[in-house]
């Protein structure tokens, strides 16, 4: 087994981002675009070369390229870019926008750059931004980014390039909302939306580095170089192709034999196997997010904190590391959704979070039963292969604790609509996919009104801390509040995290200039190929 290099890579990324000449490492800040502090990983391949085509293998297919669609659309950063960006330290910085500022977190001023045009030639101006935000607000479109725009009270175009937002309440992460991977910083051409109507989803027009050529679902998305890109000299590539390769093993072979030039990988096995190949580069970082079991706070037995503690106590993290993460111990055993690499991480949660202790679990269960409770429950999972593998392992945890558990598998749609949406379950497996920043994911996961608070967890202290975190003007106060949320959650345990979702971008040796978030959202303007 090759030595695992997660931390090394993370360190490398940080080094590269800081722009300081690394000791021994050839990492250096990107030549282009460093005025925005764009974290581009570099190697010693020399100066970027323009031209060529790259193929990016992704693990799933999108449902389209309308920014209001609820799906991970790998092509969106290429087609649309983003008004704001996270830099590598997790700070929000302007990107396609000139600036975004607020003094009180209630009124925000967004300034746009001069001369940024959509692919159809129309300008990306204040009206365009407002048009897009309004779409997210439209209930008929049921946008996935609704939570990001919900705080908006009103907005107006001060001039062609300035938008003033007035919020209902102080809301600190508002700028970050324009930097999120699936956030509201993705601006589509209003002209095109009006022109294509229902078909816009299939004919996206943005202002990003690549223009849409064709999309054949389950086959490929073809993009071509935007000759009128707002960043001079970019993009380098003439063509960029996205190909969904849903099968893990095939995806792995596709990168091994050069069918694709870079891939997005999501299982520990394939990432480790890629690391064994000297010709491949594995780019990874520990993003926020977590895989775990939702323990329904509304329904017995997990309405009782003792039972939640018992559940966490039976999780054998070493085994989870072996079975679920191919032996990668540092992926297993996530505590809450915030990664230790995050600037707001609260290290004290490590002492609060219950350690594996089957005896303790048995005691807690006995205690609960003695009080007249029925500790048995049904554990629901979607019937996908990786979930089945998890269930096989978890079954042994339950048996070791002598816990009477029924395991039930459901069709993925039924799982989502009949379990998560209705809240009619006791324990269900679920993942919070990788994310950068804290809002809205943390809010949604833990706030009483949170959209992804499937545990129906409701705690006034947590709600208050969340509110403080999002409204504080002082970043220190906000960080402290985020940390308090983590501590409270580690005490109350609504969501029994057992690991971080693995993900990495793997590239061939001829691929350079990878610019990505920690959650592996790829911004392809700086990509270039030495072949």
């Amino acid at each position: 087994m090759a030595k695992f290099r997660w931390s090394l890579i993370a360190a490398l990324l940080v080094l590269a981002a800081c722009g300081g000449g690394g000791d021994g490492d050839e990492g250096s800040a990107a030549a282009e675009g460093d005025e925005f502090n764009t974290p581009v990983t570099e190697d010693d391949a020399g100066d970027p070369v323009a031209g060529g085509s790259l193929t990016y293998g992704t693990y799933s297919e999108s449902i389209g390229y309308d920014p209001t669609k609820r799906s991970t659309s790998y092509g969106n950063p290429a087609i649309y870019d983003s008004l704001m960006r996270f830099d590598d330290a997790g700070e929000v910085v302007p990107y396609m926008a000139e600036s975004m500022e607020s003094d009180d977190n209630v009124t925000w001023t967004l300034k746009l750059r001069e001369g940024v045009n959509f692919h159809d030639g129309t300008p990306l101006d204040a009206e365009a931004v407002i048009f897009n935000v309004e779409r997210h607000l439209d209930p008929a479109l049921a946008s996935g980014a609704f939570a990001l725009v919900e705080p908006i009270e009103s907005m107006e175009a001060v001039d062609d390039l300035t938008v003033a937002f007035t919020l209902k309440r102080p809301f600190a992460p508002f700028a970050a909302s324009f930097a999120q991977s699936n956030g509201i910083g993705i601006i589509a051409s209003p002209t095109a939306i009006e022109l294509h109507g229902e078909d816009y989803n299939l004919n996206p027009v943005g202002a990003g580095p690549f223009t849409f050529v064709e999309w054949i679902p389950d086959d490929r998305l073809v993009l071509a170089k935007n000759e009128d890109y707002w960043q001079e000299g970019l993009p380098y590539l003439d063509e960029l192709i996205y190909r969904p390769i849903p099968d893990t093993q095939t995806r792995q072979q596709a990168i091994l034999n050069g069918d694709v030039d870079l891939t997005y990988m999501i299982t520990a096995t394939e990432i480790i196997q890629a690391q064994e190949q000297p010709q491949l580069t594995v780019l990874s970082a520990r993003a926020n997010g977590g895989e775990g079991i939702v323990l329904n706070d509304n329904i017995a037995p997990f309405d009782d904190p003792r039972m939640r503690e018992a559940f966490v106590s039976i999780l054998n993290l070493d085994v989870i590391a072996d079975v679920r993460y191919s032996g990668q111990r540092d992926l297993a055993g996530a505590i809450g959704l915030i990664s230790p690499d995050s600037p707001v991480y609260a290290p004290e949660v490590e002492d609060i979070w219950p350690a594996q202790d089957v005896e303790r679990a048995v005691e807690l269960i006995a205690e609960y039963e003695a009080d007249g409770g029925d500790s048995s429950f049904t554990f629901v999972l979607p019937n996908t292969p990786d979930r089945r593998a998890f269930a096989e392992m978890a079954g042994q945890f339950f048996r070791d604790a002598d816990w009477d558990v029924t395991t039930e598998f459901l069709d993925i749609s039924e799982f989502v609509t009949g379990i998560l949406q209705t809240g009619d379950f006791q324990a269900a497996i679920m993942s919070y996919p990788a994310f950068v920043g804290e809002y809205p994911q943390m809010w949604n996961a833990y706030h009483t009104t949170g959209l992804s608070n499937w545990a129906h967890f409701s705690d006034p202290d947590v709600d208050a801390a969340l509110l403080e975190a999002v409204s504080a003007t002082d970043p220190e106060v906000a960080t402290a509040a985020w940390q308090e949320v983590q501590v409270l959650v580690a005490e109350k345990l609504p969501f029994a995290t057992y690991g971080r979702p693995p993900s990495a971008i793997i590239t061939q040796e001829w691929v350079h200039g990878v610019d990505k978030y920690a959650d592996n959202t790829l911004f392809p303007a700086t990509l270039w190929t030495s072949e």
């Binding site: 096995t269 979930r387 269930a391 096989e392 048996r399 598998f409 069709d411």
Partner: protein
């Protein structure tokens, strides 16, 4: 006439009575009275069979096959009483270990003994394979016979129903059955049976169409035999052998199909072991720990092969057409 029938039962004569596609049932009705036909031995096969040494080898294969099937079926039946590790119990200190002295077949990705799982898996897989093929054969065969022999309105109805079933992609049916009725062994057998029925209907009907044109069928009908008698006594014995050959293959296919269901998340619910499910589970790590998928594949391969060796032999024994080979 009476004498001829006596002759027909004489073993020595049998080799001489080989009107090619005419079984004993039809001989009685052959016009002309005499069952005398032609020796079909080596009609075309210049060397139709094996020299002695090879035949002996075949006999060894046959007995090996029987031993294997007895072993598999026997151990599956007696599995709970055998000194085996619990097929569900994980040994987390031995995850995905290749075969060794403590685990002869190795362990799977959650540290369960593959030998034990293969034996317990045989219970499920054999049940799935045999039951769904049996249902498919009986139901499909019956409808196919009716459609091919009775023709007319009955055929139209049966074929329309069959076509509708076949035109519906298998997965839709299985997904719906799983989602509506729940994911259980019974429903998996049911689902796979529903998939095999139309194939059997079509196959039986096709053969039946041909056989129905044969003279002995007309003859039997002219003797006043009712349709049921004709179907059972005249047509069925002729239609059966090729269909039976297909059966033995399809059992293997169905056992694997259960694995494909697992691959799509519709198979037997964990932690219950089934060969197909084990193969599907082992696929994830095929490059690193191939034994997890290969052990059940090998067990299944030998079992399917053994079934076919036995099936072939039985067919030779009971099928007049091949008895002289």
């Amino acid at each position: 006439m009476a004498e001829d029938q006596d002759l027909a039962t004489q073993p020595a004569v049998e080799m001489d009575t080989v009107a090619p596609d005419v079984t004993t049932a039809s001989e009685e009705h052959l016009p002309g009275g005499s069952p005398a036909g032609a020796v079909s031995t080596g009609v075309l096969q210049e060397d139709p069979t094996q020299p002695k040494a090879r035949r002996k080898k075949l006999a060894i294969a046959y007995w090996c096959a029987i031993v294997w099937v007895v072993l598999v079926v026997g151990s599956a039946a007696l599995a709970p009483f055998l000194p085996l590790p619990d097929p569900i119990e994980s040994d987390f200190s031995a995850i995905a270990k290749p075969p060794s002295s403590s685990h002869i077949f190795g362990t799977d990705e959650v540290g369960r003994d593959l030998l034990s799982r293969s034996i317990f898996g045989a219970r499920i897989s054999l049940a799935v394979g045999l039951a769904s093929v049996a249902i498919g054969l009986v139901v499909g065969g019956a409808f196919g016979l009716m459609a091919g022999y009775l023709r007319g309105r009955i055929e139209k109805v049966i074929m329309t129903a069959t076509d509708s079933l076949l035109a519906l992609p298998a997965l839709i049916l299985l997904l719906t059955i799983a989602a509506v009725l729940g994911q259980s062994l019974r429903n998996i057998i049911l689902g796979l049976a529903v998939l095999t029925v139309p194939t059997f209907v079509r196959l039986t009907r096709a053969s039946c169409l041909v056989i129905s044109q044969r003279e002995f069928v007309t003859a039997s009908r002219s003797y006043g035999s009712g349709p049921i008698r004709v179907m059972l006594r005249e047509i069925l014995p002729n239609v059966f052998p090729p269909i039976a050959a297909y059966c033995f293959i399809i059992i293997g296919v169905v056992i694997v199909a259960e694995g494909s269901l697992s691959f799509l998340g519709l198979g037997v619910t964990p932690p219950t072991a089934s060969w197909g499910g084990m193969i599907a589970g082992g696929r994830i790590s095929l490059t690193h720990t191939p034994h997890i998928a290969m052990v059940p594949s090998a067990v299944m391969f030998v079992t399917v092969l053994a079934f076919n060796v036995i099936g072939e032999r039985l067919r030779k024994r009971f099928d007049v057409r091949e008895s002289s080979l």
